[in-house]
């Protein structure tokens, strides 16, 4: 028997034993962690990366208009990634198969993962969410709200501009 065993005479089975109360305390602390997380969201002043601006509020530090890319550089059913409000505000510009332009924030409305264009729709790799490309509505998986959509404008010089955030379909300000 090693010398340290005489100093700590506890069986292995006893060492790994976790009582109900200890487990309950751990789970209660997990619950406290969730509360701390909500408190952090409450106290945080800056919006989370990729989050939408509050309804009716102007986006923080947002350029009113952003030149993204030349229209001819984007073939149908392809996408172009860009940042809009700040370097963390990742967005995707899409030319649909029918030749129309769509721009969305990449932030999934479920838990904030980055969605990606797969040629037909926008897919969230985290929880298999899927959004259709016309208006960004969720069609599969846990997301329940549409993606944040940006207005796209094709100017006479052939450049595509993002000119602001469109109201979400079904949002209160959109119904009124």
């Amino acid at each position: 028997m090693p010398g340290w065993r005489s100093l700590f005479p506890v069986d292995l089975a006893e060492e790994s034993h976790l009582s109900r109360r200890e487990f309950g305390r751990f789970m209660a602390l997990v619950a406290a962690g969730f509360t701390a997380g909500i408190g952090y969201l409450q106290l945080r002043r800056r919006p989370l990366n990729g989050a939408s601006a509050a309804p009716g509020a102007a986006p923080l530090d947002a350029p009113a208009q952003l030149k993204v890319c030349r229209a001819e550089d984007l073939a149908p059913a392809n996408s172009f990634l860009f940042t809009y409000r700040d370097p963390q505000d990742r967005c995707v510009l899409i030319r649909t198969a029918s030749g129309e332009w769509r721009a969305y924030r990449q932030t999934c409305t479920h838990l904030g993962c980055a969605v990606r264009w797969d040629g037909k729709g926008l897919q969230c790799p985290c929880h298999a969410g899927y959004f259709e490309v016309e208006q960004g509505f969720p069609v599969q998986g846990p997301p329940t709200r549409p993606l944040s959509r940006l207005a796209v404008e094709l100017r006479p010089d052939g450049w595509l501009w993002v000119t602001g955030e469109l109201p979400r379909p079904g949002a209160p300000e959109a119904r009124s």
Partner: protein
């Protein structure tokens, strides 16, 4: 006599704690979705409910001798 904090939790108390954790997870997910969606108005209510649930869970886990099963 075993001190209250060292006794076993009953299954019911543990089940309540686990239920609270599940509710907290759902609440946090809902609050995070709301923030990502720009709807911060729900946060004070969510925080109050979450704090109340956490207080109940902490009480059950640390201070509820009446819910302990006799050894």
């Amino acid at each position: 006599m075993t001190p209250p904090g060292r006794r076993h939790l009953t299954g019911a108390a543990l089940a309540v704690i686990l239920l609270i954790v599940l509710i907290q997870a759902y609440l946090f997910e809902t609050a995070l979705e709301a923030v990502l969606d720009g709807q911060r108005g729900q946060l004070p209510g969510a925080l109050a409910v979450s704090a109340a649930l956490t207080a109940a869970a902490l009480f059950l886990a640390f201070k509820a001798p009446g819910l302990d099963r006799r050894p």
